[in-house]
Symmetry: C2
């Protein structure tokens, strides 16, 4: 007997067009005009009392340096710990190093609820305070919660809208994938990135608002408005079109990626934080002895709209402003970006695809010549008319303090021709580890975890929302 | 300026039909009739002198138990090591355990060269001796080499045909993906699975032969002929069709998988081998004190057609014969299998999709009732006419001694209807962790690593080669 349950199509072929329709709505959505947003956000900031204060480590409550390891841990054993990492890699100017790293084994949920109004998909975004953001309040996903948050280890109030993501049958899943976060600061962390189209009415809490993809794209053109968690979820929106060709077929692209992953030997082992040579701890911070990379610091937070009203916690504070950029070209009329297969010590699996340039200048100011990152100068010296996109964004404000990068998309259409693209062997091909990939292919890869790193996903969110037109 | 390089189609849409054409050729190929194969293999066995002898650990040459850890290591620091694993999981009858485990950080290549003869794709297979195979000689991929093999750490002869896989431009890649191996015996091991269609003539060495997919499918119906490495590569052949529907859309399937990965907390840490409680080492073996699971043993090998002519090495010898089975149904006319999201301590990332049943009866004979594996009894008590496929295959003979499983595909079309398939909530839905997935969907997932485990891939190879018709 054959089962007669009706089959479903494997793919929702109407979805990319619905997302494109939402991305085209830039000036106004069902709830507000885009030019009303700044006022709305300012009112949300006024509605709550926030303050963040740097404190010495001995004023942390519930956190302490563990006997024997020096790891910075919470009494509950939950949240996260700051431990040490010893990494060895097989190429590049620095072959082995030790550093502090955040270990957070819990998988959190970053989820955005979507809903159609007047035939256009809108996304429920939240004005959320995070202590590490310079401006504190940014636009975040509907839900941004560690398991500790929504299972109540925080002893705070319930996480709003969490049911859309943890209870089946509350809507239709548009995307759901475990994605890595910063491999330089986290040890093998990943979060669940979800987009769920709600069935039925969704009451809107005062800190929340419905925006179209195009409205979010407009906000992505402003500095420090859309937070990292929102960006990574929007990157996972299935906006890509499958019908268009690319410079390399999908199988060729996957084969190149597999070769990149295979050719690197990365050894990354956790070590006790007090065994991290080259770093020094005082009352206020753990710092690299040359003043590079980042510091581990502590803050005290007072807030009115978080799950709990006040707490203290450690944060990582990077040194200097990062530069994160894609070079882009139209190849055969189809937009491509130059990805870089990057080794980061905290990745679960050796390499992921990052932007063409991902770089904190101050970290590498002591390196010169061939050790300077490829393509950095091409980005920094781009003619103004080649800069298609530029904005400063913050990394996750729940773990990082003032961690800002200048994100750019730079047209390389006036770069060298032919060989640079095809790798025809005339010496101008992309160097090993770099590849031209169509934006549609990047959208296909991001359905799966551990292909596209979090910085590249910020720029992919800019493509998906129309913040930059390629 | 827009680059004018011609684009390629993202997908080779002709390939599934070419693979199906090859799978349809079951009786004869360009080089031999299928009924001639046994004679050919026997002649290859006669052409070489092989012997494998169990030896005590102190007769291992180049291997020793390391001071301080008790780990079993090679003097060169290469190949693999036998270390300890401490695993903690959050469900199931056994929540934490220690065991010996193989650590082999090198990524090897498992590669098959393909070539068309008379319009039909053929695959270059090798008669290869592996010390752990009961019958020693089995059919393996064209290339089956660790990096130590092909970079010469073995100081043996060069690996034949390796250029097809490590030198670009020697052909066209049909599949190239890093796949996990046994998560119960290896710590986070993966190998590169490659199918490459050769350009130009390919000279055939005496130990090699061209076979169609259908011929290999016929051989997969026999016990212990096609080795594990060949099976996993054949599983990666892009044989799936995208146009057909499935019980769950691809996004629903990925969402379920993401939820399975997120809901498990698995802690797996390497520990020194001499700290593995519950296991005892004597002159000849490391054994579990209750006689369960497997033993670590040593062998001496004499061989004529390997990269080196004689060596000694450790092997894992499982206790008992495994049972590995897919339940299968046609749903809406499309073949589906019931996958199980399995936690294995050595997986890189918590869970992968395994067969419905993957089980070594002797390991769990002490468990009863609800702790007995789901669906085991349905497989063991299946009516003969429901057993669509049954054969005994060996796991990797380079690491495992007499590691045999009975692989089955059992029709569940006469199982309970409706709710069992749809999960309609009438109590007969698949239990948590199980899902009906179309074979085409499994083929789509296996383009990426860490979705489909090595046992499920053996059964997928049986589907791809027509060893079983669904």
């Amino acid at each position: 007997m054959t089962t007669t349950v009706p089959l479903r199509p494997r793919e929702d072929t109407a979805l990319p067009a619905r997302l494109a329709r939402s991305a085209a709505e830039r000036g106004a959505g069902a709830q507000m005009r885009t030019d009303e947003f700044a006022g709305w956000l300012a009112r949300r900031a006024e509605a709550h009392r926030f303050s963040v204060e740097r404190i010495p480590f001995d004023r942390l409550r519930g956190w302490s340096f563990e006997e024997g390891t020096g790891n910075l841990v919470h009494d509950s054993g939950r949240f996260f710990t700051v431990e040490g990492l010893h990494a060895e890699v097989d190429e590049g100017p620095v072959r082995q190093w030790r550093q502090p790293i955040i270990k957070q084994p819990e998988v959190g949920i970053l989820g955005i609820v979507a809903k159609e109004f007047d035939g256009v998909l809108h996304f429920l975004m939240q004005a959320k305070m995070e202590p590490g953001n310079r401006n504190l309040l940014q636009l975040s996903p509907t839900v941004q919660a560690t398991r500790s948050n929504y299972t109540g280890v925080h002893r705070g109030s319930p996480v709003k809208y969490i049911d859309h993501f943890v209870s089946p049958g509350r809507g239709r899943v548009l995307a759901d994938v475990l994605q890595s976060e910063h491999g330089s600061w986290f040890f093998r962390k990943s979060n669940r990135n979800m987009l769920v189209e709600a069935a039925g009415d969704v009451p809107v809490d005062p800190d929340f608002c419905w925006l179209t993809l195009g409205q979010i794209g407009e906000l992505l053109r402003r500095d420090n408005v859309v937070n990292m968690d929102a960006r990574t979820v929007l990157a996972c929106a299935p906006a890509g079109r499958d019908g268009r060709g690319a410079l390399h077929s999908d199988t060729e692209l996957l084969s190149w990626f597999t070769a990149e992953r295979s050719r690197h030997e990365v050894r990354a082992e956790r070590v006790p934080l007090d065994r991290v040579d080259g770093w020094r701890r005082d009352e206020w911070a753990i710092r690299h002895e040359a003043g590079r990379y980042f510091e581990v610091v502590a803050v005290s937070v007072e807030a009115g709209n978080r799950e709990v009203t006040g707490w203290t916690q450690p944060l990582f504070e990077p040194v200097g402003l990062g530069v994160t950029a894609f070079l882009t070209r139209r190849i055969g009329g189809v937009p491509h970006v130059l990805v870089h297969a990057r080794v980061e010590g905290g990745f679960l699996d050796t390499v992921e695809l990052g932007p063409t340039v991902q770089y904190t200048p101050d970290n590498y100011a002591h390196l010169a010549g061939a050790d300077r990152p490829a393509f950095l100068d091409r980005v920094l010296r781009a003619r103004p008319e080649s800069v298609l996109y530029e904005a400063v964004h913050s990394e996750e404000g729940g773990r990082f303090l003032n961690a800002e990068s200048r994100y750019l998309v730079v047209s390389d259409d006036d770069g060298d021709e032919g060989g640079a693209v095809t790798g025809a062997g005339d010496g101008t091909a992309p160097p090993p580890g770099y590849r031209w990939v169509s934006v549609d292919q990047l959208n296909a890869l991001v359905r799966h975890g551990h292909y596209v790193n979090v910085q590249a996903r910020t720029l992919l969110a800019c493509f998906n929302t129309g913040a930059v037109e390629l």
